[in-house]
């Protein structure tokens, strides 16, 4: 039988160390909503989302109350809109209508974000996919809860450099369209290489075409719990360090697995995956950077940071896979600059550069995430950063992503404030040398030699 010590340990994690389930995300296929008319397509989308996800928020709150574990976000991911709208959308404005429908469905169901205003263009773009991409700035400016993502490369296909060039411009246009709130529209736009089909975390969630009609995915969290556990083993060997992280990740993931199964049963929607990611928030004591510092760095960004992050990421996975048979999504450590108090402090003090962050993305689960850069950064430079990050993902057969915010009207040393979960970020410098001539080339970068496994 469970004893007092175990109960106290669990409740300590919840009450003092910010243990929570970060999100229950319902993935919904919209492939059966395709229609020759934009209006009919939008009506079907709204009806399907509100029918399947009508009880999502209430069910999440009920489970949260019964277990005593906060479930911070309830969200929806849908089939990439470029597939759903291909038959009816003839202009970017048609796609904006779909975005507004998604926004309305999100508000009706009470979820705080809906992901899937997306296009998968890893090898090339269809005309419809290009229309969706060109609709992104207006869609993100005129909706509140819609998140967008574009997959521009993969290990199997190489990198679509035409899409990379276009996305540099789209990021700038989105920044300009949302300049009134520090270009925060860019915080809802992720550019992927090797995007997973079952990611529950925003802004990059979408319901991939490999998925069924609907699925429940759960994203766990808990950097504060790992940090607190490591405080107990300060100065001890790497073996003890790794064991402690694994044990803690196991416990955290078991909570996620329980919540996922409960939500799946109560909503009558199949369970998909648990995403093991350590997702920080701007709250004190909920920081991945603080874990790296607990491992022995005076500040994140110091030499040793990449090694410490590699170790952390690997041990989180090793502990987590034991706790759930279906692990998926991104699963690792997130390093979003604006959403992590320790990262914000290091970037503000000049101890964390984009180049060091890029190195860290080689070993973490995502990429250059929530980084504010000067508003006058050229589109070609943003494309260059996207290409670099995609190359890391392509060659290492891992997911990488870019979520950069060129803050219009602000420069290095100033702060961008996006509010709420998105946090705030110091604007950090970008290398001023140009990559314009490279980005101007057309076509794609071929898949790497080690992708030919057949």
């Amino acid at each position: 039988m469970i004893n007092l010590y175990e109960v106290n340990e669990t409740n300590q994690m919840i009450l003092s160390e910010n243990l929570d389930v970060r999100t229950i995300t319902m993935g919904i296929s919209l492939l059966d909503c395709c229609d020759a008319s934009v209006e009919a397509c939008c009506d079907k989308i709204y009806a399907k989302i509100t029918r399947l996800a009508g009880n999502l928020v209430a069910t999440g709150e009920e489970i949260s109350k019964e277990l005593g574990v906060p479930i911070v976000n309830k969200r929806i991911s849908v089939t990439p809109a470029s597939l759903v709208g291909a038959a009816c959308c003839k202009t970017p404005e048609d796609y904006v209508k779909i975005a507004k429908t998604l926004d309305a469905a999100a508000k009706a169901t009470g979820v705080n974000f809906i992901g899937g205003f997306s296009a998968l263009v890893a090898k090339a773009m269809t005309p419809s996919e290009e229309l969706l991409i060109r609709a992104i700035p207006q869609a993100l400016a005129e909706t509140e809860r819609v998140c967008s993502s574009v997959n521009i490369g993969s290990t199997r296909t190489g990198i679509n450099m035409d899409a990379v060039r276009l996305m540099g411009q789209i990021v700038k246009e989105t920044a300009e369209a949302t300049a009134s709130w520090d270009s925060g529209g860019c915080a809802k736009l992720v550019i992927f290489c090797n995007a997973p089909d079952d990611n529950p975390f925003m802004a990059g969630a979408f319901h991939g075409v490999t998925e069924g009609d609907a699925a429940i995915h759960v994203g766990v969290s808990g950097p504060g719990v790992v940090k607190a556990a490591l405080t107990e083993v300060r100065g001890q060997s790497f073996e003890v360090l790794c064991e402690t992280i694994k044990r803690t990740a196991f416990k955290i993931t078991r909570v996620g697995q329980l919540v996922a199964q409960e939500a799946s049963t109560r909503l009558g929607i199949p369970f998909g995956i648990v995403d093991l990611s350590l997702a920080p928030t701007p709250a004190v004591g909920d920081s991945v950077a603080e874990i790296l510092e607990e491992i022995g760095l005076s500040s994140v960004g110091a030499p040793g940071t990449t090694a410490a992050l590699a170790l952390l990421n690997d041990q989180v996975k090793k502990g987590g896979v034991m706790a759930s048979s279906y692990v998926g999504g991104l699963s690792g450590a997130f390093i979003p600059v604006s959403e992590d108090a320790g990262m914000i402090a290091a970037a503000s003090a000049g101890r964390l550069s984009i180049e060091k962050l890029e190195a860290m993305t080689c070993v973490c689960s995502v990429g250059l995430d929530m980084i504010a850069i000067p508003g006058d950064t050229p589109a070609s430079t943003i494309s260059g950063i996207i290409a670099d990050e995609a190359a890391i993902g392509m060659v290492n057969a891992k997911t990488t992503a870019v979520r950069l915010i060129p803050v219009i009207g602000k420069g290095v040393g100033e702060t961008a404030n996006f509010g709420g979960l998105l946090g705030y970020a110091p604007i950090i410098p970008v290398n001023p040398a140009s990559c314009e001539d490279m980005i101007a080339r057309t076509g794609r970068i071929p898949a790497p030699i080690h992708s030919f496994k057949n």
């Binding site: 469970i2 004893n3 007092l4 175990e6 340990e9 005593g68 078991r254 909570v255 409960e262």
Partner: protein, 90 residues
């Protein structure tokens, strides 16, 4: 059989266990195990209870117990046992 774990933490005072047990008896909730410690005047109790005969949903029992805790000046949590068994048992 569905079980819940009730924890009570707060400054020690007369009648904490009596008040909680009276509520549980009224709701047909059977107590299977109690462990309790007092450290530096602070009361720390854990109960394992069987709620399968209780007619109220667990969410309502949690709300009621939270209110009982507020009356007594202690913090009462009631959580499904699943949370703890999943986390601490393979």
């Amino acid at each position: 059989m569905s079980k819940a774990i009730i924890t009570v933490v707060g400054r020690d005072t007369v009648g904490i266990i009596a008040r909680v047990c009276t509520y549980l008896a009224g709701e047909k909730i059977n107590i299977e195990d109690i462990s309790q410690t007092i450290v530096a005047g602070y009361f720390n109790m854990m109960m394992v209870v069987d709620i399968s005969a209780c007619e109220k949903p667990l969410g309502d029992v949690i709300t009621d117990l939270t209110a009982v805790g507020e009356e007594l000046g202690v913090v009462i949590h009631c959580q499904s046992e699943d949370l703890f068994t999943r986390m601490h048992r393979i």
